[in-house]
């Protein structure tokens, strides 16, 4: 006998819209003529994310009253999960705007054909014939859809599938950078291998949990009472000899899989390398959205287990709390201390993202329901600042100037008079004069990340630390504040460089140092620019020590730092992020009230 399950289609609508649009996007690749493809894809992607968000908004009043389990919990919409979905949709929308911007150079951040071997004539041909990889848009939609599913399921197998759905497109996207392609491909390979490793740990954990409970769902299927992880715990299964070890080890491994995605120490090592190598708009997208999805999933797994065990065996809850506390402390320490010696903007932001994972975990470690609201707010505040900041990075570029050739004001060639992004912090000197508005926006994002009052970041951090404190972890909250102080130092250092230092592109300077020793830097990042005529020195794997690459540029040419004009979308995204950062800092109450509704139920 097979009975068709009753499905609450409305509850699935946000996912269906986003993932469905991804499928349509693939068809667009096949059937829409090349000329119209890019525009079609952008419109489709933005419309899908907006539509997804609209459905979330429609669902919200209903879900905050009564959470919904669809198909026995495969999709479980609690207010917390739906909130996370909404934040992912909003951040993905902003992220796609940055992705879609071709800037005044007429080029987006992606390779004309990502499959071409770097440095070959085929690549040159593809570049010259103006090819574009519009597949990135459906990939983004799949990733976003995967993240939304990831954040809203009760079923560990579905969670695993979602994990792959969100990860695989990201691996591909990481490899598609237009410039520094070796670095980009290396980043993708690393991300893929380590991601596979983390997935393996995750699924092994799922297996152990299944061994313990005979189910991979926490709440279980309402139609089959008594089956599920929580019912198993409550029925006293954990008291069995060795059974609680199964549960704890299983949950621990699942949590490790999730912490990998969160970017928490010691599962963070991929973060700086991948964030640096990936095309910057993608970095922004994944730094913001993946973090939301992963933290949301983490909170759900942890809190569901905690709810289950706290009456039966509080010891297990203490163990879980201990794991998070240890990881949070490590993450904050590594993120801030190693972050403070970085000399590359993207790497600095990567370590900042690690540090924020730590701050988020400080709140999560509080293990109380209030944390749900503050975590959602934190994710929103962090995501907005991150997408904005990486959006700014996409616009600060190197430019090769050949005096006397008229190139200075001349057309932007195929090979690019405007080269790749100028990500050395030293190159950002004097940016405040070159682009005051952009600098102001970037400063705002940094201040928000630092947690200065009147920005969203302050309210967010306040919430996270309050969460830890109300969970009895005063010392952890104090540690969080101290780590924030160290983090402020490195954000402010960047600010000082941008606003108070003079630009270093003095025309009389014939020798341009393109790369310098970076403490804690991978050799891979010493590769600086594959476009242009400056040959690059070291490539990946040259050795464990950082490499110094000094490139002699002929006196006739020099590299300047310039700010390219956005064609619109990125500027809109940056402006929206800046305004939102201020509004969430000055008038946070409406949003706080909204996320507050999320903490009424088990996440």
């Amino acid at each position: 006998m097979f009975e068709a399950p009753e499905i609450d289609w409305l509850a699935l609508a946000p996912l269906i819209v986003v993932l469905g649009a991804g499928v349509v996007g693939v068809l667009v690749e096949a059937f829409v003529p090349a000329r119209a493809r890019r525009m079609t894809q952008i419109v489709l992607t933005l419309a899908a994310l907006a539509g997804g968000f609209a459905f979330i908004a429609v669902l919200w009043p209903q879900i905050v009253v009564q959470p919904v389990q669809v198909v026995g919990g495969s999709v479980t919409l609690t207010p917390f999960a739906l909130g996370a979905q909404g934040i992912i949709a909003v951040l993905a929308f902003l992220g796609v705007l940055v992705v879609a911007d071709r800037t005044a150079t007429g080029q987006d951040a992606f390779a004309p054909t990502a499959s071409a071997v770097p440095g070959t004539s085929y690549e040159d041909l593809a570049r010259r014939s103006g090819l574009e990889q519009t597949e990135i848009y459906p990939l983004l939609l799949f990733a976003a859809g995967g993240m939304m599913l990831f954040a809203s399921t009760d079923d560990l197998i579905v969670m695993f599938i979602a994990l792959e759905v969100l990860s695989l497109p990201l691996y591909v996207l990481c490899a598609t950078a237009r410039r520094r392609r070796l670095l980009s491909q290396e980043a993708a390979a690393k991300y893929f291998l380590l991601g596979a490793f983390a997935s393996a740990l995750f699924i092994f954990g799922v297996a152990l949990i299944y061994g313990f409970a005979g189910s991979v769902r926490f709440f279980g299927d309402p139609s089959r009472p008594g089956v599920g992880v929580l019912p198993a715990i409550q029925s006293g299964a954990a008291q069995g000899e060795g059974m609680s070890v199964l549960l704890v080890a299983g949950v621990l491994l699942v949590v490790v899989g999730l912490l990998f995605k969160v970017g928490a120490v010691p599962f963070h090592a991929w973060t700086p390398d991948v964030y640096t190598g990936a095309p910057t708009p993608i970095t922004g997208f994944m730094a913001a959205c993946t973090k939301v999805a992963a933290v949301a999933a983490l909170v759900q797994v942890l809190y569901r287990v905690a709810i289950g065990v706290q009456t039966v065996d509080p010891e297990i809850m203490r163990q879980l709390q201990m794991v998070i506390v240890v990881v949070a402390v490590l993450t904050m320490a590594v993120g801030t201390i190693v972050g403070s010696v970085q000399t590359d903007v993207k790497r600095l932001l990567a370590y900042s993202s690690i540090a924020h994972a730590g701050f988020l975990l400080v709140g999560v470690a509080g293990f109380n329901s209030q944390v749900q609201a503050s975590t959602l707010f934190y994710l929103l505040a962090y995501g907005i600042a991150t997408i904005g900041a990486f959006g700014v990075v996409t616009l600060v570029r190197e430019r090769r100037v050949t005096p006397g050739s008229g190139e200075h004001n001349g057309p932007v060639g195929d090979d690019g008079v405007v080269l790749g992004e100028a990500t050395e912090i030293a190159q950002w000197a004097g940016l405040g004069r070159k682009a005051p508005w952009l600098t102001a926006a970037f400063a705002l994002f940094l201040l928000s990340m630092a947690g200065i009052p009147l920005t969203a970041g302050f309210i967010a951090k306040f919430g996270a630390f309050t969460g830890a404190a109300s969970g009895g972890l005063w010392w952890l909250a104090v540690l969080g504040v101290l780590a924030s102080v160290v983090a402020v130092a490195f954000y402010l250092r960047l600010l000082v460089v941008m606003v108070f230092q003079r630009a270093q592109d003095d025309p009389a300077e014939p020798l341009v140092k393109l790369a310098e020793t970076t403490p804690g830097a991978a050799p891979g990042e010493a590769e600086v620019s594959t476009s242009g005529d400056v040959s690059t020195g070291a490539t990946a794997g040259a050795g464990a020590t950082a490499t110094l690459t000094t490139v002699q540029v002929t006196t006739a040419q020099r590299i300047e730092v310039t700010v390219v004009r956005s064609r619109g979308p990125a500027a809109v995204a940056i402006a929206v992020c800046a305004v939102a950062t201020v509004i969430l800092g000055v008038f946070p109450s409406p949003v706080l009230a909204l996320v507050e509704q999320a903490s009424k139920f088990v996440p």
Binding site: R318, Q319, G520, G524, A544, P588, S589, L592
Partner: protein
């Protein structure tokens, strides 16, 4: 009242928007920016008038309105609400700030006419007005602090406004920094006071913290500590002893700034803080006594310094310090003094702004000369300035019926009120107040006649003094009228005291230790004597163009009674000493013995540098190792649950 309360946020809003447009708009707003600044300030003034007239129309007991704006954040036990408090006290300030502020904006249009950065100047002025209004309208110490810092910022920016392209650029920048740093010391006091208040009462809004319950729940020691911290804040902002040294140097800023910020409004914020925090001070008699002493010391200090200054602006700055000393003294006297402190603050705001703008007009006429020994005989050339400054002069002397008489006389009488158990207080502080009035008469008369009187001009070469443009003298006329009449209008029949009563409470009337007519007569006699002495020395006799060596006291007064020297010896030198000690200690003790910490950090860095090798295999090993480490830590710290 409720139908217009919605306008209140715009009091702050208009100047804030003005500042935003002017500062963010850049060169695009250069052409009309100054008029936008004037308009923003004037719009605030109009709203201020509307609100005040409506408030006069409401019954006295309904005159304190807390207008909730929004909840900034609410977390657990802490609700941070932002709101405005409209009551007679805050509205008095609103009127002073917006009305005098607008006049000074208008004046500045002409005064800063040739300055290439006039637009930026107006942006800062608007920012100041917005911050000052935030300060006085705040309904909690937290929002007050926002305004407090805002005016500090605006003051810093404006003192150092001419920090490029002038011979004195460096000095100006130093003066700005000096003001900023000394104000920071005071701000620490305010922060500490807020922390103590929050610890003691669990709130920071006036409604809760100043209620009888909350104040009653504070121990006297706590109340005293809070009171003293608040006093420290007030001393920083209001240039009271011992944090007074920055005000004289602050005169490096453009004259309209001196008039608006360093005479009429910002420097009186300390007095506002004292009066607003009255209930706390009343619970701490020791703190009150310290307030009175600080006021008395500063009032004499400023007056003595004022007698010797030859720079017209610095003389006025010293006078400001002294007059705020009067207000502070009154604020420390409790309910009997609050109303007069604010009354004097109001009249002083008018006559001192008038005097400063007059000084600006004189400087304008004399090619930015500020040395009074180089003035003289200007009354014929600057008739309007002469008359309006004359009104200000009579007002500050306290000659009836001019403004200053009504307010200052009130303070002197209040100072003579007996205090139970401490009969010496009335005599000491009363005498100080009278003595201060005499010295005030001397230095202001000196200033007035060195500038306008004298038998022959002592100008430098090529001086062609002329009256300034109407944009500059119309504000002078308004302020002159205020100097002449405001005191009588508000003082006769105690109108102003009654107006403030809902806020500061009704003062029990005590008889001063001397009969009131005797006090008034004595004061007037010494004032006239002081003025006559100055007249003889600086109007009848010839004033030398070079300052004579003078007595010990004169020389000391010229150097601000060695306040900088004192600061240097008492604060900077010891601080340097401590710094040196720390440096030596750091090098010899910390670096040698405790180099563990930096080593640990660099070791940490090195480890992670190695860890961040770029090799996937080591990353994966790190993850696997991490899982193990975490498992072990959990096992060690908590023990495996089921295995017990």
């Amino acid at each position: 009242m409720n139908d217009v309360i919605g306008l209140a946020p715009w009091l702050v809003g208009f100047p804030l928007i003005g500042a935003a447009i002017l500062l963010l708009g850049g060169k695009a707003t250069d052409r009309w920016g100054h008029w936008l600044g004037v308009l923003a300030s004037a719009a605030s003034a109009v709203i201020g008038f509307i609100l005040m007239f409506r408030m006069i129309g409401t019954p006295a007991e309904e005159r304190s309105i807390d207008h909730h704006l929004w909840t900034w954040l609410s977390a657990g036990g802490l609700d941070v609400d932002l709101g405005l408090r409209l009551d007679p006290l805050s509205l008095t300030f609103v009127m002073l700030v917006t009305f005098v502020g607008t006049l000074i904006h208008v004046y500045s249009v002409a005064y800063m006419d040739h300055d290439p950065h006039r637009r930026r100047f107006f942006g800062y002025l608007n920012l100041f007005v917005a911050a000052m209004l935030t300060l006085v309208l705040a309904d909690s110490y937290l929002l007050l602090f926002v305004g407090w810092e805002g005016v500090g910022l605006a003051s810093y920016l404006l003192i150092g406004f001419w920090d490029t392209g002038r011979p004195s650029a460096r000095e100006n920048a130093v003066a700005a920094k000096k003001a900023f740093v000394m104000n920071r010391i005071g701000d620490m006091g305010l922060i500490a006071a807020m922390a103590l208040l929050f610890a003691g009462t669990g709130a920071l809004d006036f409604g809760t913290t100043l209620s009888d319950d909350a104040v009653g729940s504070l121990s006297e020691a706590t109340a005293t500590a809070i009171g003293l911290c608040l006093l420290l804040a007030a001393c920083g902002k209001s240039a009271q002893f011992p944090l007074q040294a920055w005000l004289g140097d602050a005169m490096a800023g453009p004259t309209p700034v001196s008039a608006l910020i360093h005479a009429a409004t910002m420097v009186t914020a300390g007095v506002y803080l004292m009066v607003r925090s009255g209930p706390i001070l009343e619970a701490a008699p020791t703190a009150q006594l310290v307030v009175v002493i600080v006021g008395a010391v500063t009032l004499l200090f400023g007056a003595v310094v004022g007698t010797a200054k030859d720079d017209i602006k610095k003389a006025l700055a010293a006078s400001t310090m002294s007059q705020i000393g009067y207000m502070m003294l009154a604020a420390g006297l409790g309910p009997a003094g609050y109303a007069f402190a604010i009354f004097h603050l109001l009249t002083h705001g008018f006559f001192k702004a008038g005097l400063f703008l007059g000084a600006g007009s004189v400087m304008h006429a004399m090619g930015d000369q500020t040395d009074m020994r180089r003035f003289g005989g200007l009354s014929r050339f600057l008739p309007i300035t002469w008359i309006t400054m004359g009104l200000g002069w009579l007002a500050i002397l306290g000659i009836p019926p001019f403004s200053g008489f009504w307010s200052k006389d009130g303070i002197i009488e209040a100072a003579f009120m007996p205090v139970e158990g401490q009969p010496w207080r009335a005599w000491v502080f009363g005498s100080v107040a009278v003595l201060g009035a005499a010295i005030t008469a001397f230095y202001m008369t000196r200033l007035f006649f060195m500038t306008f009187g004298g038998r022959r001009p002592r100008w430098t070469e090529n001086q062609h003094p002329h009256e300034s443009s109407p944009l500059m003298w119309w504000p002078l006329v308004f302020l002159g009228v205020g100097s002449a009449a405001l005191g009588a209008v508000l003082g006769i029949g105690g109108t102003f005291v009654t107006w403030l009563e809902p806020v500061v409470g009704h003062a029990e009337h005590h008889e001063p230790v001397l009969p009131v007519p005797v006090i008034i007569t004595t004061t007037l006699v010494v004032v006239v004597l002081g003025a006559l002495l100055a007249f003889r020395m600086y109007a009848v006799a010839l004033v030398p163009e070079e300052a004579p060596r003078g007595s010990v006291l004169t020389r000391a007064a010229r150097r601000d009674l060695y306040q900088d020297t004192a600061n240097e010896t008492l604060v900077l030198k010891p601080a340097h000493g401590v710094a040196r000690l720390v440096q030596v200690g750091d090098r010899d003790v910390v670096d040698r013995g405790w180099s563990v910490l930096p080593q640990a950090v660099s070791w940490f860095g090195a480890v992670f540098r190695k860890a961040q090798s770029g090799y996937v295999r080591s990353y994966a090993a790190g993850m696997a190792g991490g899982v193990l480490v975490i498992a072990v830590v959990v096992w060690l710290v908590v023990g495996l649950g089921g295995a017990q």
